[in-house]
């Protein structure tokens, strides 16, 4: 009975959906003037060949500021929520000095395949992430995408190497500092324009040469700031989640 009702509903939805699809304008049709205008002058005015990046980090850079701080606040919130649990546990651990798992039951060692694959991935992800961040103005991609790619490198290290190596390449203080500074840098770029007598987030850096790394002025520098912010934000989020396991692995390795 329920399935029959669902089938009738689905059939109706499908019919309405297909009917609606027939009335759609053809793929690629664009009624507004705004996108065409940007396409025609973004390359000459901002030396940016990727107009999407030009919109995100120059013409509508204020929206991206909001997006960046959404991430910043979520990471801060997650860190705050999970930290409280950590502290409670630390207290109880100090009282009893006991491990929260059975003695003599070690987690299985990392397999050679995971190790080899992880080590091979680290270099690739670092190079690809940096490329993505630094070429946001010329090709698709940018700080957000490159930042997440860059953040997967420490994850590969964590999965394939020991906890101490992870701790060494991504110490908590450095990651937290980098995240805050990069988030602040975005605002400071905007304020620099105000100080120099322009509007908030107006371009203040030299535009350089088209299709070259470091071109397009603010678009490049803001991408760099966002890339660092996103990468360290994700690394921080992950280390907050795995903090407990990380500490246990560190204790085991030091034994």
């Amino acid at each position: 009975m329920r399935t029959a009702l669902l089938a009738i509903g689905c059939a109706g939805l499908l019919a309405l959906f297909l009917w609606g699809m027939t009335g759609l304008p053809p793929f690629g049709s664009y009624p507004g003037p705004y996108g065409d205008l940007l396409n025609s002058f973004a390359a000459s005015e901002r030396k940016a060949t990727d107009v999407v990046s030009a919109v995100n980090f120059d013409y509508r850079a204020f929206d991206t500021l909001g997006e960046e701080f959404i991430l910043f606040v979520s990471v801060a919130g997650a860190a705050l929520l999970l930290r409280k649990i950590d502290e409670e546990k630390k207290d109880s651990k100090e009282d009893s000095e006991s491990e929260d798992r059975e003695p003599g039951r070690a987690p299985p060692p990392t397999s050679d395949a995971t190790r080899a694959f992880g080590v091979a991935l680290v270099g690739l992800t670092v190079v690809f992430g940096l490329y993505m961040i630094s070429h946001g103005q010329t090709t698709p991609g940018g700080g957000f995408q490159g930042g997440v790619i860059l953040a997967t490198a420490p994850l590969s290290v964590y999965l394939s190497a020991d906890a101490r190596t992870f701790q060494r390449i991504a110490p908590r203080g450095l990651v937290e500092g980098a995240e805050s500074l990069a988030a602040a840098a975005y605002v400071l770029f905007g304020l620099a324009a105000v100080v120099l007598g322009g509007e908030f987030l107006r371009n203040v850096t030299p535009l350089g040469e088209e299709e070259k790394m470091g071109s397009s002025g603010n678009i490049f520098w803001l991408n760099l700031a966002v890339g660092i912010e996103v990468a360290s934000g994700f690394v921080l989020l992950r280390s907050v989640f795995i903090e407990e396991t990380l500490q246990r692995r560190l204790r085991e390795e030091s034994k």
């Binding site: 793929f27 690629g28 990727d50 999407v52 990046s53 999970l82 929260d100 798992r101 993505m132 698709p140 991609g141 940018g142 957000f144 995408q145 997440v148 790619i149 997967t152 994850l155 994700f234 989020l237 992950r238 989640f241 795995i242 407990e244 396991t245």
Partner: protein, 86 residues
């Protein structure tokens, strides 16, 4: 719309159904990752490489990773509660 685009459209629909039908959260995180990749392919075929890249990093990497981390966290807390009850 080309045959390839229609094919990927259908693949998106099928994998979305698969994500909803998967009951085990661990398997679901893998399913949602696959769904993210297919969706990125759809965006790419509709000439939106920027959105496709964002979709790959968010839908196929970040979201499943967060689900996995949250799951491992929940599992370790569950294990502790069981220890406490003993």
């Amino acid at each position: 719309m080309g045959a390839f685009q229609i094919g990927v459209f259908l693949l998106v629909a099928v994998s979305a159904f698969g994500v909803v039908r998967t009951r085990d959260p661990l398997a679901q995180s893998v399913a949602v990752s696959f769904y993210g990749l297919v969706l990125a392919l759809l965006f790419f075929l509709h000439q939106a490489p920027d959105v496709a890249l964002s979709q790959i990093v968010v839908g196929a990497v970040a979201l499943p990773l967060m689900i996995l981390l949250a799951l491992s966290r929940i599992h370790s807390q569950d294990a502790e509660r069981k220890e406490d009850r003993k």
